[in-house]
């Protein structure tokens, strides 16, 4: 092991293994996770060439090969628990996309949740047996987050009892669904249902797209790959155009809404039911934000302990770059953020499971709030992680730009989560809508509950910002609980400001929507402040559940750093609202720098605690043993351009040119 990394590990003040247990949710789960990871890591069938040297279609093929293998092995080992499947999968695929991933998630889940019993009997067995490989085709070329705008039509024909599916315009072509281009033979297609001459809105249909056996596209179906992307090289995101393509009436998913044989439409009971799935997927994205950022931090922090550069003191050997304050200032707040998001992800997952229990008992009351709030958290965490990963990459200097660092891959794989499953700005505005609704409720004298209960402090009457400012300043910058209060005040101040600006716009303009649009910058700020408060609060709550004193001390520093760094980046909000004074802001800046120094000795142990195996990390710079330079050289020698000593371009282009000039 590299001597710098060894020294870092030896000097840690806590046992990282204990922290790993906390992240995994218990020592037993850590043990089981490692056991499952070992199944993959020790299996020669899963070995493959470095993906960086493969073309896109080779990467696609490799991903399919591993998926096929994985399905077989999972059944062989009898692994069925969702978490365990996830661990297995993650070790197989790294963090890369899986072409048949949507089959297991969206396609199967949708069948399970939205099929009638008869439909389940028909569709689920071949789906489980993978005779049917399916995807979920919702997004169209011209429409994404705004579902009502989708243009694909499914017109019911009572004479044959069939739906006729059409993509009437270029913009209506299904575009982006994963696994659609080359892999799937079926798709769940979302289309506007027309029956008896009326549009009944968006419904889901099972559409066969390729012939079983030959895998040829069916007549009336035009399907293909949408071409290269920023990342997701191994995924065949596809397009689908349907021309008068007929499917039987029974192919509409009919657990809730129905079309009778004569074309009569039967309405669904509640339209809130689909919220559950969205909450679940958003909780996954929050978890993914945490993991992706953790991986980036692991790479950047290990590399920064191995890399020596420049001089701090004239004449001394070059220091580790992690000893520079500017480097610590880039990386440690991100490390704290990664931990914070872990706890938010765990909280969301837990809440989802709790609420799913309620839904099954018919209680949907908490769903709208959860749906609204998770929208914002999805946006908040994915935006932050997205920027953080790039910060980590740039903190590795030039070498971060090489694919061998693994950071470009983490980034390009993660960044679409800012736009998929709901574009982030739209998500923030959904949360804002809920915040404004709650504020209005409080203004009219009703109390609100849950994460927005702080709005009750506005106590039914309009508190002017000046009055907030006039409150005694009691923020203690070394007390996480006090910082939670500061974030709470900031959130309520910004929600109130947005609500007032909205009201002022409403007085000036005739349309509600226009006023909303003209306030949307304020509204997004309010949502961000709210989410920031939620994250600080959840991180602080987590501290009380840590029993080991040494771990607690380290996590307390990280939590303080997260909260204080956030303040230092938004001092304007805290100053303008009078939550902090100029002098306190200066103290915050100072305290942040002290915390950097305090965290420095534990930085490597803190990323070790994430417990990413080298294979999963996929980074030469982030190797556990820190032997970076020799391995970079070994890696480069395998580059496709190095296949021959003299590249063919010399003979084809350079030599003739030199002869001519």
């Amino acid at each position: 092991m590299n001597k710098d990394l060894r020294r870092e590990r030896d000097s840690a003040s806590f046992n990282p293994e204990l922290l790993t247990h906390i992240l995994d949710g218990g020592a037993e789960r850590t043990r089981r996770r490692r056991e499952i990871e070992a199944l993959v890591l020790n299996d020669p069938d899963f070995q493959h060439e470095d993906l960086n040297f493969l073309s896109r279609s080779q990467r696609y093929e490799e991903a399919i090969r591993k998926s096929a293998l994985m399905v077989v092995k999972l059944r062989e080992y009898g692994i069925a628990d969702p978490d365990e499947i996830y661990w297995f999968k993650r070790t197989c695929q790294g963090s890369f996309a899986e072409p048949i991933g949507l089959h297991f998630s969206m396609f199967t889940n949708t069948l399970q949740n939205q099929c009638s019993l008869a439909q389940q009997d028909k569709w689920l067995p071949p789906t489980y047996g993978l005779q049917i490989i399916g995807t979920y085709a919702q997004t169209e070329m011209g429409h994404g987050t705004h579902l009502r705008g989708l243009e694909t039509t499914a017109t019911y024909d009572p004479t044959t009892q069939e739906f006729i599916l059409n993509s009437p315009t270029v913009t209506s072509i299904k575009w982006w669904p994963g696994g659609l281009g080359k892999t799937s033979n079926h798709a769940i297609v979302l289309a506007q249902l027309y029956t008896q001459g009326q549009c009944k809105g968006l419904h889901a249909f099972i559409v066969p797209i390729r012939q079983l056996g030959t895998h040829e596209p069916l007549p009336g179906i035009t399907v293909g790959d949408i071409g290269p992307k920023f990342g997701y090289d191994e995924m065949d995101n596809g397009y689908l155009k349907m021309d008068n393509f007929r499917i039987p009436r029974e192919n509409m998913l009919m657990k809730y809404a129905k079309v009778e044989p004569d074309g009569t439409y039967v309405k669904p009971v509640s339209d809130k039911l689909t919220y559950g799935t969205m909450v679940f997927i958003r909780s996954l994205i929050v978890g993914d934000s945490a993991r992706s950022l953790s991986r980036a931090c692991t790479i950047a922090i290990r590399y920064s302990s191995v890399r020596h550069q420049s001089e701090l003191k004239p004449g001394d050997p070059e220091p580790q770059i992690l000893d520079y304050q500017t480097q610590q200032y880039k990386l440690f707040p991100l490390l704290a953020t990664a931990y914070a998001f872990h706890f938010v992800g765990a909280y969301m997952k837990k809440t989802y499971h709790r609420i799913t229990g309620d839904i099954n008992q018919g209680d949907l009351s908490q769903l709208p709030e959860l749906h609204a709030l998770t929208a914002g958290l999805k946006a908040f965490t994915s935006w932050t992680a997205n920027a953080g990963i790039e910060e980590c990459r740039m903190a590795c200097g030039g070498h971060g730009y090489s694919r061998c660092s693994g950071l470009p891959d983490i980034y390009v794989t993660f960044t679409p989560s800012c736009t998929y499953e709901g574009e982030n700005t739209v998500m923030m505005l959904q949360t804002a809508r809920f915040l404004i609704k709650s504020y209005t409720q409080v203004s009219s004298g009703q109390l609100v509950s849950g994460m927005v209960s702080y709005l009750n402090d506005l106590s039914g009457q309009h508190i002017q910002p000046q009055q907030v400012a006039a409150r005694p300043t009691t923020v203690h910058i070394n007390d996480p609980a006090s910082l939670v209060e500061a974030y709470k005040l900031r959130a309520s101040r910004l929600v109130e400001a947005a609500a007032k600006n909205l009201k002022a716009e409403l007085n000036r303009r005739k349309s509600q929507e226009d006023a909303w649009n003209r306030t949307s910058v304020d509204l997004v700020r309010a949502s961000e402040a709210h989410c920031h408060y939620v994250v600080v609060k959840l991180f602080t709550t987590q501290l009380s559940e840590i029993n080991d004193a040494a771990v607690h001390a380290v996590m307390n520093n990280l939590c303080l750093l997260y909260a204080l760094y956030g303040i230092s980046k938004h001092t304007g909000d805290f100053l303008q609202a009078g939550i902090l004074t100029d002098a306190q802001v200066t103290q915050v800046y100072q305290r942040v720098k002290e915390l950097l120094t305090a965290i420095r000795p534990n930085a490597v142990a803190l990323v070790d605690a994430f417990d990413f195996h080298d294979n999963h990390l996929g980074s030469v710079l982030g190797r556990y043993d820190g032997n970076i330079y020799e391995n970079m050289f070994e890696w480069a020698k395998k580059s496709p351009l190095n296949k021959t000593e003299v590249h063919e371009s010399f003979h084809k282009h350079l030599k003739p040119m030199q002869a001519k000039l």
Binding site: C199, D225, M242, T419, G572, K593
Partner: protein, 778 residues
């Protein structure tokens, strides 16, 4: 309305073929786009020359970028080499010279995907650091490409910190030669462009040793490959460093040297030399080695950095008026996404930033040319300022442009993530700029060091360089704005920026001094203040950019319309900067909380104003479609057709497609391993008519297409009453559109070398057995 009297492929037909949403934006421009273009080009003559060059390049299929997004690393490298070689021929043929005005327009037209970029750095370093004899010997060879050069400075273990480089050059008096070595793995040269496969020679930076004494870093010319068969020279181990985030067309390389001997004359000796007896002679500044880096920094700003932001803005803004999504008012058609305030807030400040940097670049070039002339005359007075200014500006401009391109990418939603949008390409190129040619944090700290010295000079009453002279002016106390309109006064916001820069620098310097006085060692005190110092340097650079923008607006006084819109951009740039850094302006109370609300109000007002000219403002950048190479950003706005068309060209789709009108019916009875598909003949019947009638009651995209002559065929060519809503799948999609969407006619398909493309089969050959394997599972 701008007239595009030129042979650009898409523009030749004027507005007729333009997406009506985009066309409408152009009808209402408040200024002459053509005039603004001329100003941006530095005169109408330049615009003419540029367009002439672009027309030549774009009409030549040898320069087509059609398949760029589908190529592997190897293919991109080969294409870059081929185009570079071809460009030399073309230039020769056209009578364009290496130092003529056309060359930079060639680069612009080609989107920078050329090899031998570092060849220029190689030449520049010889011109800057070489003696007249050395220039006379090497430059003609390089000009004729008899030798191809690279600039080998960065090592595996060392980048921005030059003194730490480990490569050695030991002078041997007996043989009059230098012996070059990379003594350990971390000393291996790593990253230089053109090194991996192309270069025959390199300017290598190494620690000079004479009689056991180290004289620091010097530059040596070294042959690394045979001029006959291109094989590496004995003792040289050289290769490509492998795939990167982008720049795959460049063979960034590694270089190991084992006892390579070169003659004494190969040390570049304008500023220091070794005499035959081993005597070391030095003249000029220690910083002279930085000169090549200064040149490179200035050049990359206008070749590789600023244009990328301009392009990203062009793509994102054009797309944002074509893309309609959701509704602003119930009953209205879906709104253009640029009409959403949140979208304006993402893109319009970037547009203002693009203009700010474009104007800043003109200033830097002027400043640099003056300084360079002086330094060549061995007057080094301006070097520290030149170094500090270019360091800081390189850092702030690359940082903002990179972040900006990413915002543009994400502002285009999912489609921005497609390589075909062109945005991933722009972003990943820019992303490198934050660390190459000096890591940005290190550069900010160099600027900060200069500023701290300037501040000390102020306190001791000594003269300071012009770019920091503002530190001398007297503190004016509080911001003098009373209404939100006051924040549209350049003197008001300019002063706010000045105040912030002065305050942050003052705080950092005070802290530094306090630490030193309390007994901390100088270096430790410096490290403890670096976060603050970086903040101060950024504020300084930000002020310089705002100040220059204000000056530029003033100089436009004879162009009333243009001055008005550029003034709006200047205001927006400045107010957005305050809005995004409220704390730094509020802290210490220069701007009050109430004033900050005025800033926000004015800032939001400006978004709505500039919104109306957003498309003309990006049109004025005048990028050709070929240069943008974006399915989302073309001049005619036919976004979706182009996206669909381009996707067909993906190697993953090189296959015969299903044609004809058939209905697939899923007629199986329960789950079974085989699902027979029954085909029927087409039956356009009354039901479809009924559907159409229903649809006509709501505004549909199909109807809009019917009104758009260019898209009429999309609805079957019959108008709204056609029974067939699908487009005719009987003809291949390429013919569905009025004209090919790329200048494709003569570009051969030979570049599609991917394994998938070589198969004529409908189904990709590789995966099928695997899928079949999955399917066979029970």
């Amino acid at each position: 309305m701008a007239q595009w009297n030129r042979s650009g492929y898409f523009r030749s037909s004027g507005s007729r073929d333009v997406n009506p949403d985009l066309d409408g934006e152009r009808q209402t421009a408040s200024f002459s786009v053509e005039r603004l273009t001329a100003i941006l080009d530095g005169g109408a003559d330049n615009t003419r020359t540029r367009r002439a060059v672009e027309a030549v390049i774009h009409s030549d299929p040898g320069f087509s970028r059609e398949n760029q997004y589908f190529q592997s690393q190897n293919e991109r490298y080969e294409t870059a080499v081929r185009k570079s070689v071809y460009l030399k021929e073309k230039m020769h043929q056209m009578g364009w010279t290496e130092d003529g005005p056309e060359i930079k327009y060639c680069y612009r037209a080609l989107g920078g995907d050329l090899a031998f970029n570092v060849h220029r750095v190689f030449k520049n370093s010889i011109l800057a650091l070489g003696t007249d004899e050395q220039i006379a010997k090497w430059i003609p060879l390089a000009d004729k490409y008899h030798i191809i050069g690279t600039y080998a400075q960065t090592e595996l273990g060392h980048g921005t910190f030059l003194r730490g480089l480990e490569t050695t050059a030991i002078f041997d008096i007996s043989t009059q030669e230098f012996t070059l070595n990379t003594p350990k793995i971390s000393a291996m040269k790593w990253w230089p462009g053109d090194l991996g496969r192309s270069a025959t020679h390199a300017v290598v930076f190494a620690q000079l040793y004479i009689k056991g004494k180290c004289y620091g870093l010097h530059a040596f010319i070294l042959q690394i490959r045979s001029l006959h068969d291109h094989s590496p020279a004995p003792g040289v181990i050289v290769g490509d460093i492998g795939p990167k985030m982008n720049f795959e067309h460049i063979d960034n390389g590694y270089l190991m040297l084992q006892n390579i001997n070169i003659p004494r004359e190969n040390m570049l000796s304008r500023f220091s030399q070794v005499l035959p007896d081993g005597t070391y002679m030095k003249q000029g500044s220690d910083k002279i080695n930085y000169l090549t880096m200064i040149i490179t920094r200035v050049q990359i700003l206008w070749t590789e950095v600023i244009p990328m932001l301009l392009k990203a803005c062009t793509i994102a803004i054009r797309y944002s008026v074509v893309r309609r999504q959701s509704k602003l008012n119930p009953g209205d058609p879906e709104a253009k996404i640029l009409d959403y305030q949140t979208q304006q807030q993402k893109l319009l400040p970037l547009l203002a930033t693009a203009y700010a940097f474009h104007f800043m670049n003109a200033y830097v070039n002027e400043f640099y040319n003056k300084g360079y002339t002086e330094i060549k005359q061995e007057n080094f007075d301006s070097l520290p300022e030149l170094h500090a200014l270019t360091s800081g500006l390189k850092a702030i401009i690359t940082e903002y442009c990179t972040a900006g391109a990413e915002v543009c990418l994400r502002a285009c939603g999912g489609h921005g993530y497609s390589a075909l949008s062109g945005l991933p390409f722009l972003y990943t190129k820019l992303a490198a700029s934050c660390t190459y040619e000096g890591e940005n944090t290190v550069l900010f700290l160099q600027t900060a060091r200069f500023l701290v010295k300037c501040l000390a000079a102020v306190h001791s009453g000594q003269p300071i360089p012009p770019s920091a002279a503002y530190l001398y002016s007297v503190d004016s106390g509080k911001c003098q704005a009373w209404t939100k309109m006051d924040f549209l006064r350049p003197d008001i916001y300019g002063e706010a920026y000045r105040h912030r820069a002065t305050r942050l620098l003052g705080n950092a310097a005070t802290k530094l001094q306090a630490l030193v006085q309390s007994g901390a060692e100088q270096h430790e005190a410096w490290n403890q203040c670096t976060v603050q110092l970086v903040q101060a340097a950024k504020a300084h650079c930000h002020y310089i950019v705002v100040k220059n923008f204000i000056d530029t607006v003033e100089k436009l006084r004879n162009e009333a319309e243009i001055q008005k819109i550029v003034k709006h951009l200047c205001d927006l740039f400045a107010l957005h900067g305050i809005f995004s850094n409220t704390g730094e302006f509020l802290h210490a109370g220069y701007i009050s909380g109430d004033q900050m609300d005025m800033v926000t109000a004015s800032y939001l007002d400006l978004l709505a104003i500039i919104r109306n000219d957003a498309v003309p403002l990006v049109d004025a950048f005048d990028f050709t479609d070929e240069s943008l190479n974006s399915a989302l950003g073309s001049y005619d706005g036919h976004v979706y057709q182009r996206l669909y068309e381009w996707a067909q060209k993906s190697p993953t789709n090189q296959q015969v497609r299903t044609v004809g009108y058939c209905h697939g019916v899923w007629g199986s009875q329960g789950p079974a391993p085989s699902f027979p598909a029954i085909h029927r003949d087409s039956q356009p019947d009354g039901n479809t008519e009924g559907l159409l009638d229903n649809r006509n009651t709501v505004p549909s995209r199909a109807c809009r297409y019917n009104q758009d002559p260019s898209a009429r065929f999309l609805c079957g060519g019959q108008g709204a009453k056609t029974p067939n809503l699908g487009f005719p799948v009987s003809s291949p999609p390429a013919q569905n559109f009025k004209k090919p969407l790329q200048p494709t006619p003569s570009s051969p398909p030979r570049l599609l070398l991917s394994p998938l493309s070589s198969s004529p089969a409908k189904v990709s050959p590789g995966p099928t057995p695997l899928l079949a394997q999955v399917s066979s599972l029970k």
